[in-house]
């Protein structure tokens, strides 16, 4: 779908030299391209942020335009690494190159042979003597060349498609592989859209170039040289005349392209603004209407839309000059050939067939020039994409499990008679220090001692830092000082796998994947039997609603998960936790998004799940909080108070404030 993307041109971008500024006075109103308000002047890779799936977005440029690429930071290094990837396919690439040479040579030779045939015709016409044998010979040779040409072209394309698609597959595999070894920090500091765009847009970009541009470069080069040689073999003078047109091509391209460049930049920015405005206004239509801002919104839109029109039209008009101009130069060469060639033929210096061949060569000559003028841009933008891919591949990985890490026995494999695990589930924070960045320490010298089976309530304003707690306990992040111990063992001395199998998570932002309910419940233990799955669902109070679904346990959760409600999803994650049978739980109490009845179900299921397990509960219900063995009061990512309900109330600190303000503000004076 993008083969038209790269045939034509603009050559390397870059600001026009200062001195030229004056000449362009008439375009003054365009000189300052306004910065995009939405800060997303589209990048060549395609539309950022979600965008339509699969590159539905075409840029506004003419079909042949490839947007000016951004600069590559390390051109040589990136190129080397891309070549390394290609090295795995060196044999196929050798075939591609060889076939490419063959087709180029064939297409260079065929006009010459065609010319011989024309000579026979002319000879027959002027002498009346018809050398049909000779004609048949030339035509047969021509036929063979043509068949070979097509065959070679086919083999070449077939192979190069294989190479490029497989390289792309390997790129994607490597990125995915790498992502699975990256620490959570990477996920938290990069938006999903950004990562996704590298897996799709950037990889696609590289793939397109590999598939098209490489053969294009080879064939252009060979054709250019081959044509030159053939032309020289026919007539040095005619060749020199043809070469005279060469500077004209370059002149045209280098005069026009940079001029259109700036308008393309403006056009891209305006397009980014249009998309931003539309997205914002449509998403916020309720507010636009509620506050009677329809007219303002339309006025702003018209302004951007007109700006886009102005830029895009200029960009089109100017870049559109290239085609007619180069065609004219082509025609100029053609006319020169006809006249000078005609004079040469009538003067007997060359044969008519030579002239006919020459006419074809003149046309062939201009093609690679047109094609390669864009190649600098294509390479630039491809390497920029490749560089972004390598950036991921170069990220620092998670610290590997320490040598001799303990592999704690998986909870579910070692049940004792009571159905409880041998793992006791004692958690100890031993003078820990932690912060996401060294400048901002969230917890300092914090110690907590949780005994097996205790319930710990985590309270605090929304977003106060329950993720931090999960991050530390599951060792998604490491503490900078002190240690977290489970049953006395420093979690850094366990394998991550065994550490994580100790924990069960039931969070409110339930993560379920696009698969059947059965597979989702069995996520923690893919080898679970059907009976175990149903038992877990029954324990989680989810069995009933699952059975009311048309396809029961085989119901496939759709992508938005809209076929089950938020509360039901949470029941499914509880079932998932039941099946995994962890020793320690991290739970999120249901809140606003769940209706009352489901909430009661969730509550009961959770209570059941918590029996005999150490549980960290992100609590919203006062009863949970009050009954907890310990309360962790969190604010802005750090644990600021710990203790039981009574102890904390007596402290009269943040918790007391929080607790009191529950009462419709009537204790506000105390609280404030």
């Amino acid at each position: 779908m993008s083969e038209e993307k790269r045939t034509i041109m603009p050559p390397p971008p870059g600001p026009p030299p200062e001195t030229k500024k004056k000449k362009k006075k008439k375009f003054d109103d365009f000189d300052d391209i306004p910065q995009s308000k939405y800060n997303r002047a589209a990048r060549p890779g395609g539309m950022r942020r979600g965008g339509p799936p699969g590159g539905g977005m075409r840029r506004g440029g003419p079909p042949g335009m490839r947007m000016p690429g951004e600069k590559v930071k390390d051109f040589k290094g990136t190129l080397k690494r891309v070549l390394k990837y290609m090295a795995a396919f060196k044999w196929q690439l050798a075939i591609v190159t060889f076939m490419c040479i063959c087709t180029s040579v064939a297409s260079v030779f065929s006009p010459k042979v065609q010319g011989y045939a024309v000579n026979v015709l002319y000879y027959g016409e002027s002498t009346g003597e018809w050398q049909y044998n000779l004609l048949t010979k030339w035509l047969l040779i021509l036929g063979v060349i043509y068949v070979m040409n097509s065959l070679f072209a086919f083999i070449q394309q077939w192979t190069s498609i294989g190479v490029s698609q497989n390289i792309v597959r390997i790129f994607r595999r490597d990125i995915d592989d790498k992502l699975s070894r990256l620490p959570l920090k990477y996920y938290d500091s990069n938006t999903h859209g950004e990562i996704l765009s590298r897996v799709t847009n950037d990889v696609d970009n590289v793939s397109n170039t590999l598939q098209q541009s490489i053969t294009q470069i080879i064939s252009s080069a060979i054709t250019l040289i081959g044509v030159l040689v053939m032309m020289l073999s026919i007539s040095v003078w005619l060749t020199l005349i043809t070469l005279c047109t060469l500077p004209l091509y370059l002149l045209v391209i280098y005069i026009i392209a940079p001029r259109s460049q700036r308008y393309f930049v403006g056009q891209q920015r305006a397009l980014g603004d249009i998309n931003g405005h539309i997205e914002e206004m449509f998403t916020g239509q309720k507010i636009v209407k509620a506050y009677n801002h329809e007219k303002d919104s339309i006025d702003e839109f018209e302004e951007i839309n007109n700006r886009y029109y102005k830029y895009s039209r200029r960009a089109q008009v100017i870049s559109g000059l290239i085609m007619p101009a180069t065609r004219f130069i082509g025609n100029l060469g053609y006319v020169l050939m006809c006249v000078v060639g005609g004079l040469f033929v009538s003067g007997g210096r060359i044969l008519l067939g030579d002239m006919s061949a020459f006419l074809t060569y003149v046309r062939q000559f201009s093609q690679p020039i047109n094609q390669t003028s864009n190649i600098a841009n294509v390479i630039q933008s491809t390497l920029a994409s490749a560089e972004r891919i390598f950036e991921i591949l170069d990220e620092v990985e998670e610290v590997p499990d320490a040598d001799g890490s303990k592999d704690l026995v998986r909870a579910s494999d070692s049940k004792n008679a009571n159905g409880h695990t041998v793992l006791e589930g004692a958690v100890k924070f031993d003078h820990i220090e932690f912060g996401y960045s060294p400048e901002k320490i969230l917890m300092k010298d914090l110690s907590i001692d949780v005994k097996p089976g205790q319930t710990i309530a985590v309270v605090g304003p929304t977003g106060a830092g329950k993720t931090t707690l999960v991050n530390l306990l599951m060792r998604f992040y490491d503490v900078s000082k002190g240690a977290i111990r489970i049953d006395g063992v420093d979690i850094r001395e366990m394998t991550r796998e065994s550490l994580r199998s100790i924990f069960g998570m039931v969070l409110q932002d339930t993560w379920l994947f696009n698969g059947s309910i059965r597979d989702n419940i069995a996520y923690g233990r893919p080898d679970a039997t059907d009976k175990e799955i149903v038992d877990a669902a029954v324990a989680a109070r989810a069995d009933h609603f699952i059975r009311t679904l048309p396809e029961g346990y085989d119901t496939v959760l759709n992508e938005e998960g809209s076929n089950v409600s938020q509360g039901q999803k949470q029941l499914l994650t509880i079932a998932r936790a039941f099946l995994a049978d962890p020793a320690i739980l991290i739970l999120d109490e249901a809140t606003s998004s769940v209706d009352t009845r489901t909430e009661i179900l969730i509550q009961k299921a959770m209570e059941e799940l918590m029996k005999g397990r150490t549980s960290f509960v992100i609590a919203h219900r006062l009863s949970t909080i009050r009954d907890a063995d310990m309360i962790l009061v969190m604010n802005q990512g750090s644990i600021i108070e710990t203790g039981t309900h009574t102890e904390l109330l007596a402290q009269n600190g943040f918790y007391a404030d929080l607790y009191n303000s529950q009462f419709t503000g009537r204790d506000l004076d105390e609280a404030g």
């Binding site: 394309q157 914002e280 029109y309 008009v317 006249v339 005609g342 696009n514 009661i600």
Partner: protein, 576 residues
């Protein structure tokens, strides 16, 4: 789709001139080989140097004319296509802005965005390509044919064979390759989906030690996509050599039969050379047609999608003579037997709702998810029209009022804080564009937003980015509340606006609201009992019906559903 082409109307003269220019340039291009053959036939064979030169000059002139015409074509078609695109985009935007939420729901916000952006660009591009290539192509085809036939009728039997064969190849390609490319889109979406799931679920995946399984899932999808891409592209790879073969076979045939025609005196060798060139033009344009045909289906899909938008009329319109409430009446809302069903839904969302509020009173609405709370308050600013029953604001049926007038009386705070790109003060002024700095600050103070805003480096001039990622959810909600407060409306609607706030801020905010809303009606949708407890009246909704109506104390005694909600949130002593 008629409606889309109607937008092309103002540009028809431009389009017409474009076609004329295009025609000129194509004719010029086509004329060149004829002149060339004249050079060969008349100039070279007779050695007439001056004829060669004059014909050469003529060719040069024709080339110049062709270039001029091309440049005109380009200028005009850019102007027409971009202008058309601009108009279509603006028309679509205006139309969508005029929609009520009813129409928005019908198509979906995401789809509307794509239609107004990508689809319009797609159409604009096809129009541009269309003006240049779709005209250029048949002209080349027809012109080439005319010239070819003029040179020699009998030789044209070759065309009679070559063109259908080429057409066949193209059709086969369309039939067997296009579906694969469409399938590729689906597979690409699959890959994206798996990746997205992996990114959003990374904690769960690692917690369940499912990294290897996920890796396999991705690899399978990746492999599947690659296989399909290989098949699709390889089928496509047959195309080029095959068409090349047809063209080259025709060349050989022309040379071979050409020889016989020359021998029999029907042609000259210059004619054969010219014929070869026309042949290339004809077959070239047929191949171009192939490319165009592949573009058209996509364009048609886009056109349909945009046409659907343009053809849909908002069902919710202002009355011809809007009524204006009497002076002095301020801030009463009444529902009289209001029922509402979303179009196409079997069950109504709201059934027979009646209540009345007066200025200075707070009405709270509580109930389970899906019980119709948000829908109820969305009816007041007339985002939707009721299915039956009447809503009155300040004593007037809201359908008799101008929407603008109605909405001016309301300060609406949605469930999910929606802010716009711009500074914080611009966002607050969204409620009242002429608000003074003092008013903006006052509103922020009441909304408990002043503190964090003043802490930001640029204070009220801090810029909120597109998704307002630089402020937290609770902060966004407070700005959104300040926006409503800046308006100083008669009626406040808080659609579950407090749940993003922590308990303490929630309480402080409600306390600060009290003096401001003394003369206004306040309607609060809430999930937390604590939020609604002090309201003058509480409406308990269950499955769209009012199952309770009264104060907290009254409802505790009379309403089972309310008691259930309360007991799930508060402990015994707090209830009492």
């Amino acid at each position: 789709m008629k409606i889309i082409f109607s937008k092309l109307k103002p540009y028809l003269p431009l389009v017409f001139i474009t076609i004329v220019c295009l025609f000129t340039s194509v004719m010029c291009d086509l004329y060149l080989p004829t002149l060339m053959s004249n050079i060969v036939n008349q100039g070279i064979s007779t050695g007439n140097t001056s004829l060669i030169l004059s014909l050469g000059a003529e060719m040069l002139g024709i080339s110049l004319l062709s270039m001029a015409a091309s440049i005109c074509t380009n200028y005009l078609s850019s102007k027409a296509a971009m202008g058309f695109g601009r108009d279509l985009r603006a028309a679509t935007f205006r139309k969508i802005t005029s929609y009520s939420l009813h129409e928005v729901d019908k198509i979906g916000t995401a789809s509307l965005i794509t239609r107004n952006t990508n689809d319009v660009i797609q159409i604009q591009m096809v129009i541009m390509m269309g003006m240049r290539m779709m005209v250029d192509m048949p002209l080349h085809l027809i012109g080439g044919l005319i010239y070819a036939l003029r040179i020699d009728l009998e030789l044209s039997v070759i065309l009679l064979i070559a063109v259908p064969v080429l057409a066949c190849i193209i059709l086969l390609n369309l039939k067997f390759t296009t579906p694969l490319f469409r399938l590729m889109q689906t597979k690409m979406d699959n890959l994206n989906r798996v990746m997205r799931e992996k990114l959003s679920g990374v904690r769960v995946i690692r917690a369940f030690n499912a990294v290897d399984r996920e890796k396999k899932r991705f690899n399978d999808t990746n492999y599947d996509l690659t296989q399909n891409a290989l098949r699709a592209n390889r089928r496509m790879a047959i195309m080029h050599p095959a068409t090349m073969m047809v063209m080259n076979a025709s060349v050989i045939a022309v040379l071979g039969f050409g020889a016989m025609r020359i021998e029999s005196g029907g042609m000259m060798s210059g004619d054969v050379m010219a014929y070869l060139q026309y042949l290339m033009q004809i077959l070239g344009s047929v191949m171009m047609a192939n490319m165009m045909i592949m573009m058209i289906p996509r364009a048609i899909v886009s056109m349909r999608r945009v046409a659907e938008v343009l053809n849909m009329e908002s069902e919710l319109n202002d009355p011809e003579v809007p009524k204006i409430p009497e002076e002095g009446v301020r801030g009463s809302v009444s529902f009289e037997n209001v029922s509402f069903a979303y179009p196409g839904a079997e069950e109504p969302v709201l059934k027979n709702i009646s209540f009345e509020t007066r200025p200075g009173e707070t009405t709270a609405i509580i109930g389970a998810t899906g019980s119709g709370k948000s829908t109820l308050v969305n009816l007041i600013p007339r985002f939707y029209d009721t299915t039956s029953g009447t809503i009155r604001v300040d004593g007037l049926d809201i359908r008799d009022m101008a929407q603008e007038d109605l909405r001016n009386r309301i300060g609406y705070v949605p469930q999910k804080a929606l802010l716009f790109t711009g500074t914080i003060s611009e966002n607050i002024r969204y409620g009242k564009s002429d608000a003074t700095d003092e008013e903006v600050r006052k509103a922020a103070e009441i909304a408990q937003a002043a503190e964090f805003i003043e802490k930001m480096p640029d204070g009220y001039d801090s810029i909120l980015s597109q998704d307002a990622t630089n402020v937290s959810g609770g902060q966004k909600q407070r700005i959104s509340i300040a926006r409503a407060l800046a308006r100083q409306p008669e009626i406040y609607i808080f659609d579950d606006s407090f749940s993003a706030l922590d308990f303490k801020t929630d309480a402080m905010l409600r306390e600060a609201l009290k003096p401001v809303t003394q003369n206004s009606t306040v309607i609060i949708v809430a999930q937390r009992v604590a939020t609604v407890m002090s309201a003058d009246r509480i409406i308990v909704l269950d499955d769209g019906e009012m199952v309770g109506y009264g104060t907290h104390a009254e409802l505790l005694n009379s309403c089972e559903v309310y008691r259930e909600i309360v007991s799930s949130q508060l402990s015994e002593e707090e209830i009492a």
